[in-house]
Symmetry: D4
Subunit: 254 residues, 8 copies
């Protein structure tokens, strides 16, 4: 996009819409659209490029780094700031520093500010196979909220008791996209994918033991689904699945 | 859906819209919506449930089985029939049996009949990283065609020469969804995902050698993408990625 | 069991039921219950110990070795002889050498003689998820036949079209045990296991590609089933699943 | 089974056994046979479908969730409630809340109430290869008890000292089914499977180090057993093996 | 050893046992103790260092290369020459070029010349679990022969029929070392290791299918043996196991 | 061996060396040669069968269990008792309960009593590649001591500084067997195996990080050694390597 | 670099060095620096960016595609064209189409034209551990030649006979960089890396069997080298190692 | 090198430059160039052989061992001493014992003394993809400093926001070598490798979760890079990458 930007400046100078000085200033401003904090370079133009702002992945960052990045993003973009995979202390620090922050303990997220709702009447549906999958499902839910998506949830409807899922068939059919969160053998997305025509995003979770290998069994099951058109994200990646759903909502809303 | 169907019959009998005999006949018909060929049970109601008909996965089926299933689907649904992963002889048999069949040798597909175009003005974009990824990219392309999706293609634009991709930035921005096909390290979807806001579906290919482990390196790279909201399908699964894109097109078209 | 046998001889000599000479002869006979063919030691007493005779695993043995072992087993035990995983030439050789042999090409088996039916009125049910799983399902079927078990089959009822399975619910409930054969994500045993109370034996198949890793995805899915009490055998091991089912039938028949 | 239920209502209305109002009430009741606790949907009809009630898998659930599910199951089904993989605090909480609960610390289980004995005179035998396999073997034992199965145990009889096992050959022959628990190379089920004709269920344990890879070596050994008809469950899954054995007992008892 | 050699020359010059010219010539000769054939550098002094000559690993070498190396080794060392993993044409070429060569087709070996017997009265015992393991067991046998070791063989005595092994207990006890060859679950070395006190070398074979992963299951089983002091070589490495046994025989013979 | 024993009794009764009563008593005694502690069945006859007594693997056993087994073995066999993989508290408990116990903290072992020296003049040599491999090397050393083997040690002589190893060439040549302990790439056994003719037992350690995968890299390196006749034990299994060396020493000493 | 180029055009227009028309023409030319052949987009500016031209990876491309890309590269860049991993027919086609082409059958390469020598007096040294590693070593050699690097080779000097390598120590010390090619346990780079101070690039090969897993053992060994500063490329990637060495030569030559 | 040294002594005695006594003394001194601390043998001649001194890998060594090795190296070589992977207490102990030590907490290193700058005007560039990769990038930086290399750093410029990297293109082009540190999908080295002609060393980090498998995804991505000539070191091995870069700097500086 740097190319486009320069081509545009180039054209505007050619048509005398801009002087060289003005072009230079604009060029500088473009260079300021990410800021160096020393340890991090927040990407302020991501919302413009990708439709949603940079999100803070809390794992492996110090409390101080997280708060500094949040402050930088909040000030420069003015938009909602979402932080995921937060240790309790990091979440507490954000709650203290930002009066309008909201925390979801189960999801391990903090959201600062509120996103404008995307203009799409149909909800994204988040389904979980078991109670132990809730942290991942809730991370997806919080991310969808932060990205302005209407969201509904159906929890604990795994394939060993099919009637629990089938009773919600109407809701399944109304969704713009479905995020299906499952551990163990990860069979739920195949069943859901065979029942509906909307996009289905499968999230394997690390729930299980022994030969689940931390979610690998569920991941492989989902990649090998016999239901055509189910796509998959990384193990426990509720955030990624919600981001993919939001890309679909934006596309559908346009 | 059997539940819904029975509940509906139940209601209609209650309101005397249907006699018991009529209900029984309708019930029978519902039971005929998949047919047993002995070795296979084609699923005629899939298009109604999922928005697209059952597709014949040619691998591991005999030439005779493939032709029989194609005939059954073609007769009962009247819609387009797509067969993928065809051995040359199986493709030849289909071409011989169905006068309106079209073959794509590179993609290893045969398509019988033509799909009505989905009402979506924006194309699905299929991008490949290298020349060796073409069979998978072409399978995606043929599937999109069979599902009625407008499609465009950009091939051989891997990350070792970024300018080859960046020159197509305008096209990237116009797509309703992008299917990115890449082998080796599978880095292209991350770069594409960081440039656009629409859904990006990554297809790892088995192109590579040594520690590519038949596409595992690319698969893992795509699952671990740093670009939020990129989703992944199985290795070499061009069909699955196209099906996922078609789910998005249908959602966007509604 | 050698111990028991010797203890018994020991006791009989003590009570003078047997002379030393007689005991020595019996001891010799026990030693003849496996015979050395040089390259192989057929286990003639297996039927007595385990309830079914030794089966010839054809893979990795020459045509001559297979025929010699079959001859030895047939002569010494007088019972049914089953050979599995046969190359076409080995199957042809057995068909030529044994007039009462029957071949199943799809299953790659040859059965010589006929087994007496086990006294159990309820059938073992063999279910397959897809058409490509048939060779494994048929190997299970032939093995059950050779072991004297009443058998029924339901093929191509994978989870992407649940109604195909649910229509057979009555049959599911009548089985003494169910062998469920599935490749790809291997989700079918979980669904079946949640519907019935009888023993369910899951057989992963190598059907699939890419991240199915030759059946590993299905295997892991089945090992991680959320349906309590589903057990698993090796990939493509239709023979093993049928043997396990026959153990159940014998136990139930006693 | 929803289908069967509706078909039955449908038939009863047709024969005027039921009025529409009564049918509607029964339909409602069916819908109440699982209850939403928000975080969980206990499956009250599982005992009817599968022969045994839902069991609470304690891992990854909070103390409060476990107690609430136990209370719900106990009240609605009236039957025995088993909770496995309990942290010490969760076990203590159940012991405090339920006066008739019994705890097995080694097995990490709590059982509330008592199961009616299944009408089968032969015991299920639980065998362990080593002392370190006891927690898994005990989990199997407690599950069998909770499912009403007669149970016997033989511990620490690994293959490096065969005489320790062979001395119990009589007991081996009397069992209706045998659960064999082993870590390290997991060879014990092969030896047991070669000695008896009843069903043998192998449980690999995570006992071992280095190239045991948390039980994978034992798991692979068991899946590749040369003893025909041995089936396998997930690593450390004593509960699953016992559930499979109980399915066999019920089948044999019918 | 170069150091020792130079130190020795150094000492002999010092004591005037050698002139400088003589030392230089000896030094040159040492440098000639391996010869460059361009594509290969046969190691003539290996027998002196390690007790046995270099062996030609035929896999991945051309027929011409194998014959040239064999000729070079035969001429320079005068000892027995063993070639393993030979394609049929390479074996034929050696048989043609060397009148005193002997071929073992099953073992895929050719031996040229005869080794002097090592002075050890007790044999090395080679045991195989199944008929399909014979090629590996025979490779071990031919190697032992070429290294001058007294050898005995017991084949097809796998753990599913323990009595077949136990009958040979006396032979087991007489061996100086035992090579145990087994595929599938690889349990035989554990049982043997628990019966005898001599060194036991386990050779996993690639015999098996599905989750045997080309011998990995057997390899892991053997590495995790519960029988103390069993050691393991690479999958299908009959040559390596025999070499290890020969190291033991030489040590015992000294 | 039970068979031999009974056969022997049988023969002695036949020749009237034994009365029936005496035979029965001897038979009973044989049955007492392992004792059930409830949680464990110590194997008292192992020394007789395998040449060394059962060793207590401390991992996964409670302090109480370890002390009880030690007491049982010490009383019944009278020989040396070795316990490995001891938690500090378990080691302390043994030191408290047995006045003649000796602890090696680095090796995590306790030895009770002293073994008679095996009649072999040549030492077993234990070599380690790095300082971090010492716990495993020391476990090997303590085991050799407990088994009565003369032992020498050379530590920290990895292949990145070859001269450190080569200086010890004389010692390498004097050993009856060499245990080589190495982590990371595990190359040291290949180099040692190429320098000597005696048996070389390689022990991979879990020393390393990243792609060492807890010792897998070293394990694979050792299994693929280009030095003929090097054998391998499990990762970190100093005990197993020493046991294998002791089997060699006993064979050489006979 | 597009950015730099545009910035430069921008600056030249500003200083009136270029007219808009001229700038537009230059911009167009830049866009022509890769050419679309439909199936491929040769990257003509790679030599300028990275110091060496694009190389044709022959695997997975048709004979026609390879010849067309070679023609396009040869015409547009005028420089040397290297094609690797060629099937015999593809190599023959190139030899037929290009009179100045040279083929290396062992390396599976064809080189068209000749590269100017890089100004560096010291050679790159290519070392192989065994005869079977030659195809990979020769691919490295041909690539170095095509990139203008002075090259020397030492073959078959694996670690099981250290004196074969040590005799070349002088040559090792003279190299500007060393490419070390080894299969099996891959220990040679560690030994070389401990002897010299220049850059050492390790190439694992797929030479080996069983637990070499197609070169994985060698790859892991090299990644875990105890010799500081050894770097690694993909399995069998002689081309990549040579490219890395050429990058070093160019850096050293500047 | 021992060989060279002895050959040299040998020559000097021959030419009477040295007496035998003097030669013996020199020989002794050579033998002192590594010193045995009991648990460790510091390699004093490594700087002479490889161009840089031995570095203390702190992981798995006690505080006392680390200080003793540091003292030994510092005294005998007089050069800079670097210790990596230090626990906080070990770092504190070194800081206390050596007044001129400097600690980098993030990098977990301590450096004692200062290295003379290598005569190379161009810097080594260290690039990281994300903030979480900093510990590894800093370890590389500290190592480069300790080895006397001019160093520059660019952090947090991952591929999801390409403009952050492209803005530094000038710096990329000035480097003598580039160390690229990245976790997750590890795509950054491919992009950098396609932009520059200097050596690029890729360091995968364990940053990521789920299917990153502790850095395996990044490692595989880097090994399969489509950018020719990128080499790779072990996961998290900043030290190794810096050592490789220093080998390049020394080669370039000569």
């Amino acid at each position: 996009m740097m190319r486009d930007y320069l081509a545009e400046l180039f054209a505007k100078i050619a048509t005398e819409e801009l002087s060289f000085v003005e072009a230079a200033e604009l060029f500088q401003k473009e260079y300021r659209n990410s800021e160096t904090l020393g340890f991090a370079v927040p990407d302020f133009s991501r919302a413009e490029r990708c439709g949603f702002p940079e999100v803070i992945f809390g794992h492996g960052k110090t409390m101080e780094q997280i708060c500094a990045i949040a402050k930088s993003l909040r000030e420069k973009t003015g938009g909602v700031v979402l932080a995921t995979r937060l240790a309790p202390e990091a979440a507490a620090a954000l709650m203290r520093d930002f009066p309008d922050a909201k925390q979801n303990e189960l999801a391990r997220t903090v959201t600062i500010g509120e996103a404008p709702a995307l203009p799409c009447a149909k909800p994204v549906l988040v389904i979980s196979a078991g109670t132990s999958d809730l942290p991942v499902a809730e991370e997806a839910g919080e991310t969808l909220l932060a990205l302005g998506c209407l969201t509904e949830k159906i929890y604990d409807v795994g394939v060993a008791g099919l009637h629990r899922l089938l009773r919600h068939e109407a809701k399944l059919r109304e969704a713009v996209a479905i995020v299906v969160v499952a551990g163990m053998e990860g069979a739920l997305p195949s069943v859901v994918g065979g029942l509906v025509g909307c996009p289905v995003i499968a999230v394997p979770t690390s729930v299980g033991y022994g030969a689940s290998f931390g979610g690998v069994a569920a991941l492989l099951g989902m990649l090998n689904t016999c239901a055509a058109g189910v796509t998959v994200v990384n193990i426990d990646n509720g955030f990624g699945a919600a981001s993919a759903a939001a890309r679909i909502v934006r596309t559908a809303a346009n």
